[in-house]
């Protein structure tokens, strides 16, 4: 009995370890690479003999990288806030109210994210210029809706549907308007869903490249991925791998912090004790 439990534990932790290695090693490798310079990049060594911290300094030389990070933060936060807000209200309608054409609408929303990005690029570019949002973070925020909204709407709708109906009825009887029901009753219970979709949307916005490259012009409007892509060596063909890796490591850290914060919201048993039966 005990033995079996122990064995179970051990197995479990082995599994956990395997996962960590699998996910983290490449990142570790990124760090290692970020500490290599010149020819060291072309050899395999699991820890650089003489770490070249200069790569990190190099990232901030030659371009307003701090500014780029700031841009990314602004854009991502705005995108998450906006799409979560829009999706939350929409998901209530789509998830808990039955009206004709609900399925159709859901499908259309989904359809939006069925075109390859490069296909919508030109149209979006025209749209952005037409709105006068070219080389403006607002333009990015707006255009990112095209891939964050369908996703958030669908996920939140699914989760919204899972909540026990008696709760909503109780609120209705208490005289709560749909808006109150969403914000005061459902919102708190959607914690995990919101945190998750929020995170995913945030990262999606954080990592987006094509739009960011096309819709911004000046260096201090660029976002992180573009900035990284624009890091080049002394000449056209050289790929300054060390710097790129350093940059990537730098921009990954804030995300990890974010995750650490948000994952606290991902907790279970929120609806326990709500209804009987």
């Amino acid at each position: 009995m005990q033995a079996r439990r122990i064995a179970g534990r051990v197995l479990f932790y082995l599994l956990a370890a395997a996962i960590i290695v699998y996910t983290v090693f490449p990142f570790y490798w990124a760090i290692v690479s970020s500490l290599k310079a010149g020819s060291a990049l072309f050899q395999v060594e699991f820890w650089p003999a003489n770490p070249a911290w200069d790569n990190y300094a190099g990232v901030f030389r030659g371009q307003p990288f701090a500014r780029n990070i700031l841009n990314s933060v602004v854009v991502s936060v705005a995108v998450v806030a906006l799409s979560l807000f829009l999706a939350l209200t929409a998901s209530y309608a789509l998830g808990r109210v039955q009206f004709r054409g609900r399925g159709t609408l859901l499908m259309v929303v989904l359809g939006v994210s069925m075109f390859p990005q490069v296909a919508v690029l030109s149209g979006m570019f025209e749209l952005i210029r037409w709105l006068g949002l070219y080389n403006n973070l607002m333009g990015l925020i707006l255009s990112y809706m095209i891939f964050t909204l369908p996703f958030t709407v669908w996920v939140l709708t699914t989760f919204m549907r899972e909540l026990p109906k008696e709760l909503e009825e109780a609120a209705i009887v208490d005289g709560a308007s749909p808006w109150v029901i969403i914000t005061r009753v459902f919102l708190p219970l959607m914690g995990p869903a919101l945190a998750t979709t929020g995170l995913l949307a945030f990262i999606a916005a954080w990592n987006e490249f094509l739009f960011a490259l096309t819709f911004t012009l000046s260096n201090d409007m660029r976002t992180v991925p573009v900035a990284i892509a624009l890091i080049t060596g002394t000449s056209q063909f050289e790929l300054p791998w060390g710097n790129i890796m350093a940059a990537s490591v730098i921009v990954t850290v804030p995300l990890l912090v974010l995750v650490m914060i948000f994952q606290r919201k991902i907790v279970s048993g929120l609806t326990a004790g709500a209804v009987k039966g």
Partner: protein, 412 residues
């Protein structure tokens, strides 16, 4: 010096130019631009664009297709004039014929589309043949003249080295990934075998000929013999990686690799040399494909005259000399290859002068808008051949068919 005409323009306008991204390329460009600013009192905004030429082109097209004047002066690749000409203005009135003639003929012709000079040469580039001096000496081999020799020598040294325990040693690496770089390499092979350059200047599709087949067959024979299968996915940097870490005897690459491989932490420092690429057999000729960049002015620029003046200044002999000295950019002007200041900064400019002047252009001019498509079809065929998916003859044959279709019967 910048022409007074423009210098006098009272109001100072701001124009934006895209030259390179960050890095030396950017800095050198910037210093030049600043000088011009100082002289003319206009402001210039430097737009950094992606390093990968494909992405850069995509971005340009996006802007131009939308008739956006956000960038006035574009730095365009040697193969783009045909593609972009429609959005660029004629620069005939920027430089007189005399100055124009100072530039390499090949490049200038390449920049003329339907009698419009859509871009002015700025700096050039050409494929070089890097070799390991030390190894050649060690095994008493001489620098191979022809591809066949190269193959044999490479094979020999590779075997010897491996027997000596350097199990990773390979003979020859080049850019074999399915991208423009492969077209560049393959064009060199073909031309060195006198097999033409896919499409001749009159737009006739010449690629399907026995000599071309020989060239490709030879190249295909390298894979897994003297060349790692990996080259099928190598671009410039991967090649440099292999060569610089001492794992290859020969390499085809651009001049940029030279300073890097002679950096102090480089394992092959001072043990390498450069030469023109080998000939395709005794009756062949050493060829390298023309690379490099031009400057062009957008049709949608709000102040084209000022933009033109900037182009004039940046492409001028003085500026090109400065760039050659401080940045090691190959000038497009014959004279500068005899200028000792330049030679002092870049020793091999002299010995490789031939290579640069005789560099062969890709069939961009003839194929115009469709160059990319032609190139893609070509590199795919070559890539297939190298990957052993069909032999050279058949692949070239089908390539010819495809190109016929693309060119709508050679009319392009």
């Amino acid at each position: 010096a910048p022409s007074e005409a423009v210098a006098q323009t009272e109001t100072s306008t701001t124009i934006s130019v895209s030259c390179g991204s960050v890095g030396i390329e950017f800095q050198v460009c910037e210093s030049g631009v600043r000088a011009w600013e100082a002289a003319t009192g206009h402001r210039v905004q430097l737009v950094s664009t992606p390093n990968d030429s494909n992405e850069r082109l995509a971005l340009y097209q996006q802007l131009l297709a939308a008739k956006s004047g956000d960038i006035d002066v574009f730095q365009i690749d040697v193969v783009w004039p045909g593609i972009l000409s429609n959005h660029l203005i004629d620069l005939r009135d920027v430089v007189d014929q005399k100055t124009l003639d100072q530039h390499f003929k090949a490049i200038v012709t390449n920049d003329v589309v339907d009698d419009r000079l859509v871009a002015i040469p700025w700096f050039t580039d050409a494929g070089l043949f890097y070799y390991r001096k030390d190894l050649l000496e060690k095994y008493g081999r001489k620098l191979p003249e022809t591809w066949q020799e190269m193959t044999e020598t490479a094979r020999f040294i590779q075997k010897a080295e491996r027997d000596a325990g350097n199990s990773r040693m390979w003979g020859y690496v080049f850019q074999g990934r399915a991208y423009e770089g492969l077209t560049v390499n393959a064009v060199e092979w073909l031309d060195s075998f006198n097999a033409g350059t896919i499409v001749d200047l009159d737009g006739k599709i010449t690629v399907n000929n026995p000599r071309a087949a020989d060239a490709l067959t030879l190249a295909a024979s390298w894979i897994n013999d003297i060349t790692p299968q990996g080259v099928l996915n190598y671009s410039e940097e991967e090649c440099r990686g292999v060569f610089q870490s001492g794992n290859a005897v020969f390499m085809r690459n651009w001049p940029y690799a030279w300073p890097l491989m002679n950096a102090k932490d480089s394992p092959v420092k001072d043990r390498i040399g450069v030469a023109p690429l080998p000939k395709g057999g005794e009756d062949g000729k050493p060829t390298s494909t023309l690379g490099g960049w031009q400057l062009a002015v957008s049709k949608y620029s709000k102040s084209p005259e000022i933009a033109k003046d900037l182009v004039r200044y940046l492409t001028s002999m003085e500026e090109q000399k400065r760039r050659a000295v401080v940045g090691g950019f190959n000038p497009t002007i014959d004279a500068l290859y005899k200028d000792e200041e330049v030679l002092k900064a870049n020793p091999f400019f002299g010995e490789l002068y031939e290579t640069f002047v005789n560099a062969v252009a890709r069939p961009a001019r003839a194929t115009g808008v469709r160059y990319n498509q032609v190139s893609a079809e070509f590199w795919n065929a070559v890539h297939a051949t190298l990957a052993g998916d069909g032999d050279a003859k058949t692949n070239l044959a089908s390539l010819e068919k495809t190109l016929e279709r693309v060119s709508r019967g050679g009319r392009w």
